[in-house]
Subunit: 116 residues, 3 copies
Amino acid sequence: MKELKTSIRNSCLDQTVDALNSKGATGITIVTVHPVGYNFGTRFSFSEQEISKRYYDISKVELVCDAGELDTYLDVIMEQAHTGSSGDGLIFVSGVSEVIKIRTRKRGSNISILTE
Amino acid sequence: MKELKTSIRNSCLDQTVDALNSKGATGITIVTVHPVGYNFGTRFSFSEQEISKRYYDISKVELVCDAGELDTYLDVIMEQAHTGSSGDGLIFVSGVSEVIKIRTRKRGSNISILTE
Amino acid sequence: MKELKTSIRNSCLDQTVDALNSKGATGITIVTVHPVGYNFGTRFSFSEQEISKRYYDISKVELVCDAGELDTYLDVIMEQAHTGSSGDGLIFVSGVSEVIKIRTRKRGSNISILTE
């Protein structure tokens, strides 16, 4: 399995999550994070500076999927969270070895087994 | 080492953390996350709908342990966070290669070295 | 690539993040977490107990870097987040296989390609 982690603009959050859900994504979690290392003064336009506080509280979306679904979800995020301006964010992919469903105690190495 | 990540009901949080602690778990962190993709209207009972906002802010528990301790902690979580209803959550397991203790600058590939 | 996760004292947060930035770190995220398993009563001094609530809300710093930069960033964190007292925290290192830049759709296995 693969874990996708991406920190995206709050303004793109709803449409990104809706699109991920429509593709069948399970186990999405969202947490407000504080990114650092961005120079709002020079890289954002004036109107964006005024609401930079809003962008500063961006949303980190985490999602685990089977390896075969990775490209589908990457495409969804690249489409929905893309504005073309600096600050669109990065997606990081790492490996996840096991998943356990607490209710059924089912355990495996593919998230798809949970719905079988 | 293994990292366990699990998003569980807030109502199970205290007992789960207490049980993990009693088994000697170190480095547990808790963060409030916003899970999505759950249809509260149809999958939760009426009384649960009324307090769905509470469930909606669930707690993500993260824990790193040595590989040999993995099953112990999985059992603790499956026991303490289990209600039998939809929404009990998933546990994801992934690999962690190194740990460093900032105070002592001790570095290794087993979390147990930190207490030696 | 490597992911560093560390939960450090809030009082060390600013200087740690500034030092990481000055070394060129990208993609740092900060989230407030609630660590558990610490006995504030016995392990913290009296003055620290009074402000233990502040320490209790510690900051989790996450950072992805190329493998060759790992030691540089570990050194920065060990220097800036070190007080010598219990509670300085741990750093966990795990692998990250891919990175995607949403704005440019550039995809690769080294974070340095994003700025090429």
